[in-house]
């Protein structure tokens, strides 16, 4: 990676290395929808995760982004077997996690930990911090001395050792998240899955936690899967970003490449929707507005999952053929039939989806007629 250019950049792991810690193949999690009072039967399923392939090299950070309902959280939980997948395989360090049972599974769990979104909800309010941090050790029957002590853990996450005797309500949101992180590293895991680690925190605190996660990775050689809806946070922390839409990965690339040249129309739209705190950029950038909402995962659209909202939709292939992930550039995979044409500019997006912020500077003359109902549609075109 381009770590040599800037001394402030952290050393990034070699992504081409074959040392894959976690490998996910064709993972599916379908939740059944049941109906009936006396005889319950399955009438359908919510395809929360529907065929995901993912490789996580040791020591790297993979970011999973997507909107609510795209299946990113379910994917994270299925990897840890906190939900049971209905198909596919997950292999961790060469071992198929889904064939493990009982004691073997429990021992494997020690190497995979999770950081949760809401630090208040994931800490027991009646448990002291000392107890929170020693419980993983007790649960796994590790004797004192086998792992880091509580003061060491607190020191690693930047809390004073006096915190051990206090309770979760005595801490601020950012400090609670530090405790959640300390708990996750208590067993010295190899892999940490962080599900929205900063989205519940105040803006000025988010950066503290992001920096802490990066620092711990450097010191302890952790591998992260970071799940978040905030593209800016994910891009900052991750080496490789995977964009999810409706249960599947639509684009995956090293984060610099993804930002410099997004291929998938959904990635393009997602990026253009993220506000940038700079008025000069905000006034000139062109926005792609997606119409409507994400469709229901119980009844996903045929063909490309995104074709109902896609501004680049073509009359052929999009509605009846589900695109597979194809490698367009080294390490950059895209699930779109028309990615090359869109990148070359030979397919233009529908005009109404494009909002040019620059035109806002000269507002058009508009005089509302009093009393007359307005027929102008202010939002995106209806009926999609």
């Amino acid at each position: 990676m381009s770590a040599t250019a800037d001394p402030t950049t952290r050393a990034r792991p070699d992504l081409a290395s074959t040392d894959v810690l976690l490998s996910v193949r064709g993972l599916e999690v379908h939740y059944p929808i049941r109906s009936g009072i006396v005889f319950e039967r399955q009438i359908g399923s919510v395809k929360a995760v529907d065929g995901v392939d993912l490789d996580v090299p040791r020591g790297s950070t993979i970011g999973l982004v997507g909107e609510s309902g795209c299946g990113k959280t379910t994917l994270g939980r299925a990897v840890l077997r906190l939900v049971e997948p209905t198909g596919g395989t997950v292999s961790f360090d060469g071992i198929d996690v889904h064939t493990l049972e009982g004691e073997d599974l429990r021992r494997m769990r020690r190497r995979m930990q999770m950081i949760f979104q809401d630090p208040m909800a994931s800490l027991d309010p009646r448990q002291s911090i000392e107890s929170v941090l020693t419980e993983p050790r007790r649960a796994h029957g590790i004797e004192v001395g086998g792992t880091r002590t509580v003061p060491e853990l607190l020191d690693l996450v930047g809390l004073p050792s006096s915190a051990a005797w206090r309770y979760p309500h005595e801490f601020s949101g950012g400090q609670r998240q530090r405790i959640g992180i300390a708990r996750a590293i208590a067993l010295e895991p190899d892999l940490i899955i962080a599900d929205e680690p900063v989205s519940a925190l105040d803006v000025s605190i988010q950066a503290q936690v992001v920096n802490l996660l990066e620092e711990l990775q450097d010191r302890l050689g952790l591998t992260y899967v970071v799940i978040a809806h905030d593209l800016a946070v994910v891009r900052h922390i991750a080496d490789v970003v995977a964009v999810m839409y409706l249960g599947g990965i639509v684009e995956q690339a090293p984060s610099d490449t993804l930002y410099a040249q997004p291929f998938h129309p959904y990635t393009k739209a997602l990026m253009s929707a993220v506000p940038i705190p700079d008025p000069v950029i905000e006034d000139t950038r062109v926005r792609i507005l997606l119409p409507g909402d994400i469709p229901s995962a119980a009844n996903p659209p045929r063909g490309c999952r995104f074709h109902t909202r896609c501004p680049y939709r073509q009359p052929t292939r999009c509605d009846d053929e589900r695109p597979a992930l194809r490698e367009l550039a080294p390490g950059h995979t895209v699930a779109c039939h028309w990615a090359e044409d869109i990148a070359a500019g030979s397919i233009a997006p529908q005009a109404e989806a494009i909002v040019d912020a620059a035109v806002d500077e000269q507002p058009p003359e508009f005089v509302p007629v009093p009393g007359e109902p307005e027929t102008t549609t202010l939002g995106p075109p209806p009926g999609i």
């Binding site: 000025s204 605190i205 950066a207 800016a232 891009r235 739209a269 253009s272 006034d283 209806p382």
Partner: protein, 335 residues
């Protein structure tokens, strides 16, 4: 207190003060002398973190705070009247008609057991005297206007049958029902996904442009402010610490808190690996304003006066600023 509205601005908030009082507890001064104005066709942003008093400010303007346990001071001038001294029934006429509000969480601001249609037509019936079919048509028009497809079906549905973005649109439709002259939006997009947020922001922008309404945008997201607002007021611990036009504010933040906020957000367009500079401490580490600057415990630019007396909001460096030792041009934001 003078009897006339001091300026010609549409909404003029002067020295607004909200104190929560509880028996045997110390008073909590949530809003402490906040002043700002909004004019027709203008968008003003209030930015701050949790506890900065931005939402309480909006509730005080709308007279939505409870009568007991709260002391509200200052003036809110709208159209020649001080809203804080108006009788309750007059205020009820203005609320929803001239000044409307959009709340953060559409699920908890809509009544879950009443169909959307009744909730939207209620505003029209109360303020414009529309009835029956007429009100229904007007409601359907409103839903179309905010981009809800198939409005006649949606009118019969309950809030839980709508998606988050759709619910927020319905809430905006209710706020727009009487073509308000001032719209207060309290974190209208925080609960939504970014692509839906982009839709809602575009909708608000068009509203301001087309109907010449005044918009007060309350948010913690500096990105939202950057694309939307004409003037920005940054709040910390109940007071405005910096007010400026958005271009000046973002190009040259002068208050260390504003600068710190900007330096701590990861930007999508920043080179990757660029370090983030978080503000140390947390928003709860506040020094009472009476003893100096509330931000001083977290401030990298702190000098002696900061812990001795509270700085005043003064015109300086082309903006209003409440700081003894502001950031200077090209100065690195202290880590």
């Amino acid at each position: 207190m003078s009897d006339a509205q001091p300026t010609s601005a549409l909404l003029d908030v002067r020295d607004l003060e909200v104190v929560f009082t509880r028996k045997d507890r110390r008073d909590v001064r949530a809003v402490d002398g906040v002043s700002f104005t909004v004019d027709r066709g203008e968008t003003v942003g209030l930015v701050g973190e949790s506890g900065s008093g931005k939402s309480v400010t909006s509730l005080a303007i709308m007279s939505l705070l409870p009568d007991r346990g709260v002391r509200v001071g200052g003036q809110v001038w709208f159209d020649g009247d001080d809203l804080l001294t108006l009788p309750k029934d007059r205020m009820r006429d203005i609320r929803g008609q001239d000044i409307a509000m959009v709340f953060q969480d559409p699920m908890s601001s809509l009544n879950p057991v009443v169909p959307i249609g009744i909730q939207v037509t209620e505003v029209l019936t109360r303020h414009q005297g529309l009835k029956g079919e007429e009100a229904k048509h007007a409601a359907a028009d409103l839903l179309t206007r905010v981009g809800i497809p198939d409005p006649n079906r949606r009118l019969k549905e309950y809030p839980h049958q709508l998606s988050g973005g759709m619910r927020q649109r319905a809430l905006i439709a209710m706020a727009l029902a009487c073509r308000p002259r001032v719209l207060i939006a309290d974190e209208p997009t925080t609960a939504l996904d970014v692509t839906i947020q982009a839709q809602i922001l575009e909708l608000l922008k068009e509203l301001v442009r087309d109907s010449d309404a005044a918009l007060v945008m309350i948010t913690h997201d500096l990105g939202v402010i950057a694309g939307l607002c004409d003037a920005v007021h940054v709040m910390y611990a109940g007071r405005v610490v910096e007010s400026a036009g958005r271009r000046e504010l973002f190009a040259e933040p002068r208050h260390p808190y504003t600068g710190g906020l900007l330096a701590s957000v990861p930007r999508l367009d920043a080179p990757r690996g660029a370090p983030l500079h978080p503000i140390p401490g947390s928003p709860t580490d506040i020094r009472p304003w009476a003893q100096g600057c509330a931000f001083s415990p977290r401030c990298g630019n702190r000098i002696d006066p900061c812990t001795e007396s509270p700085p005043a909001l003064e015109e300086a460096l082309g903006r209003s600023l409440r700081c003894y030792n502001p950031l200077m041009a090209d100065e690195e934001v202290p880590a």
